[in-house]
């Protein structure tokens, strides 16, 4: 089985063949997986597989039984599903913002642009279980009255984009997309859109601009996409995993989904674990699972080393020293109590050989590189911050630099159009806060306290 899916997913790329399967089964004993439910099948991405597991039945049921939108939205609300794109906004609530009555086309957008370092879960959904995403989007479209949908897929994963395009063709062919579905007057066209390398397009309004054929520059909100989205029309944007959770919720009911998790964090969730672990990959686990269990599933720290720090939800969430995360649970409240946040569930694990100064340099380079450049604090600030850290790594740091870095980051944060500014500030602030001695050592000695280089 593994052979086959790997082959399908990577086509000609030979290197992955012998590699460990990046996706691992989870603790949902006796329970089907939620967003990756086809994973253990032979041909996970195929329509036949998905149908065999009850796929598209929910869409068909809702449409043919003419289930009313408020009822569906209510189930989503009950499910406690919170946006899986990182901000954790309750999905049911977001859906209720879409105007009910609107004279013209409404749009549905799926955000598969994951480019936040350490995040790679949506890719597995579109390559192993694309039809569930399609069904989830179709249900959302039915609920929200959207006529056209786009799934915006990260530029670098071309092969997975093609898998998704193929799945769309299959779904159209089978009558799950297109005009007058199941003989109803509900019509929905869904298209794949290919990004071309810009992290900022993960931000929903930048993504919308990009769909329109422009630079990915975020729009100022308000107006929010629900009133002014794609082509200026009402648009609902959700993350891939959010949509892919919908068919399961429809099948089992909102409460069942909520019960998978803990209060305030419904469901199970994909956690992308990368960095210094033995078995990096995606783990679909219940919300509220202790960090330790997740780390264990990922094979623990590699090479028998010690845990030093974890970035729990992608670089836009604060880094946590080992002691802070060790007893935390993996859910919204659990991580926020422990001093960080869940983000997109992108856990980057660092062992005790990691130099925090150099790591921060790479992260601030990322934000500097990826700033779209429209707003002053982010455009000018991220470059400034990066240059200071670069100077420190080059051995030319000054003690005042640390306060300056903190001050600059505070001056970027909260003063920009989109949250990239805040995201850029977070690592700087949290790295310096938790690992200040390492920075001071570097400045004093012109070299790393950890690797001596």
């Amino acid at each position: 089985m593994a052979e086959q899916t790997t082959k399908m997913a990577t086509r000609k790329s030979s290197s992955a063949k012998k590699a460990a399967r990046p996706v691992v089964m989870t603790d949902l004993t006796g329970q089907t997986l939620v967003t990756l439910r086809t994973l253990n099948e032979k041909n996970p991405a195929s329509l036949a597989t998905y149908e065999k597991l009850g796929g598209y039945a929910q869409l068909k049921r809702l449409v043919t039984e003419k289930i009313k939108a408020p009822e569906i939205i209510n189930q989503v609300k009950v499910s406690n599903l919170r946006g899986r794109g990182g901000a954790g906004f309750p999905t049911g609530l977001k859906w209720s913002f879409m105007p009910r009555y609107y004279d013209g086309t409404k749009y549905l957008v799926c955000n598969t642009d994951e480019g936040e370092p350490g995040t790679f879960k949506d890719r597995d959904i579109i390559r192993y279980n694309p039809h569930q995403l399609i069904e989830g989007m179709a249900i959302a479209a039915y609920t929200l009255g959207a006529r056209v949908g786009y799934n915006y897929i990260h530029g670098e994963i071309w092969q997975d984009y093609e898998i998704f395009e193929a799945a769309l063709a299959e779904a159209r062919e089978a009558g799950y997309l297109g005009e007058n579905l199941f003989g109803s007057n509900f019509s929905f066209d869904l298209y794949a859109v290919h990004g071309y390398g810009a992290y900022i397009c993960g931000e929903e309004t930048a993504l919308i601009e990009s769909i329109e054929g422009k630079k990915g520059q975020p729009r100022f909100k308000p107006p929010f996409p629900a009133s002014y989205g794609v082509f200026g029309k009402p648009t609902n944007v959700n993350n891939t995993e959010s949509y892919a959770s919908i068919p399961w919720i429809m099948q089992h009911g909102g409460q069942a989904f909520a019960d998978l998790g803990v209060p305030n964090s419904g469901g199970s969730k994909l956690f992308s674990v990368s960095g210094h672990v033995e078995k990096p990959g995606n783990y679909e686990i219940r919300m509220g699972t202790p960090f330790k269990e997740l780390l264990e599933m990922a094979g623990g720290i590699w090479k028998g080393r010690q845990l030093k720090a974890v970035i729990p939800g992608g670089p836009s969430t604060a880094v946590m020293p080992a002691r802070a995360i060790e007893n935390a649970t993996m859910d919204y409240d659990g991580l926020s109590k422990a001093g960080s946040s869940l983000g997109a569930g992108s856990m980057i694990v660092m062992d005790d050989t990691t130099c925090m100064v150099k790591t921060l340099k790479r992260l601030s380079y990322f934000f500097y590189e990826e700033s779209c450049g429209q707003c002053t604090p982010c455009r000018e600030g991220t470059g400034w911050v990066y240059r200071i850290i670069e100077r420190i790594v080059d051995g030319k740091g000054k003690m005042e630099d640390l306060d300056l870095l903190t001050d600059l980051s505070n001056n970027i944060s909260g003063r920009t159009i989109c949250a990239l500014g805040d995201a850029a500030a977070t690592p700087v602030l949290s790295f310096i806060k938790h690992f200040r001695p390492e920075f001071e050592y570097y400045i004093q000695h012109g070299k790393s306290m950890v690797d001596g280089k």
Binding site: S14, A16, R123, I157, Y196, K214, S274, R362, L363, F366
Partner: protein, 159 residues
């Protein structure tokens, strides 16, 4: 002038959007033309803009914004190595050093035979397979080791 194949592919993309929103297809159109011609010269960007009926500068804004467009000639195989945090933690530096050493070029340089160039990439959304690289924007190679890189180069050299 765009080739007939390029036009066919662009038309496929255009069909995804409302008729009066031809600009929406600009990213795909640029991608299609880049794949066909190797890189995006000024003429290529102009061709795309003309075909879509949008201002040339609007097409250039897009072409210059996204990382994967090449506004300068690249090698036959453009190798983009992710050096972001998850890859860095698992040794992307070593992969980069190895590539640069083997090919004798630095980032953004093309080998003398025009065959290869290396670029530094940002997160490709596949961090579970770190370290990794992709070739010509399309083929992803994960869980890299220096041996795997050698094998890949050999394969590409043959092809």
């Amino acid at each position: 002038m765009l080739s007939a194949e390029a036009i066919e592919k662009i038309e496929y993309e255009l069909a995804k959007y409302p008729k009066d929103r031809r600009q929406a297809a600009v990213m795909s159109a640029l991608r299609i033309v880049q794949i066909e011609r190797g890189w995006l010269s000024k003429e290529s960007v102009t061709d795309v803009a003309k075909y879509l009926g949008i201002p040339e500068i609007a097409a250039m804004e897009v072409a210059s914004f996204y990382n994967m467009y090449d506004l300068q000639p690249v090698g036959q195989y453009k190798i983009t190595v992710c050096t972001n945090i998850s890859c860095m933690l698992r040794g992307s530096d070593e992969i980069v050093d190895h590539l640069q050493h083997t090919l004798g070029v630095g980032f953004n340089e093309v080998t003398a035979d025009g065959k290869f160039c290396i670029k530094e990439g940002e997160c490709m959304g596949c961090c579970g397979g770190a370290p990794l690289l992709h070739v010509n924007n399309t083929h992803m190679h994960e869980f890299l080791t220096t041996e795997k890189v050698d094998a890949l180069l050999e394969e590409l050299n043959k092809g």
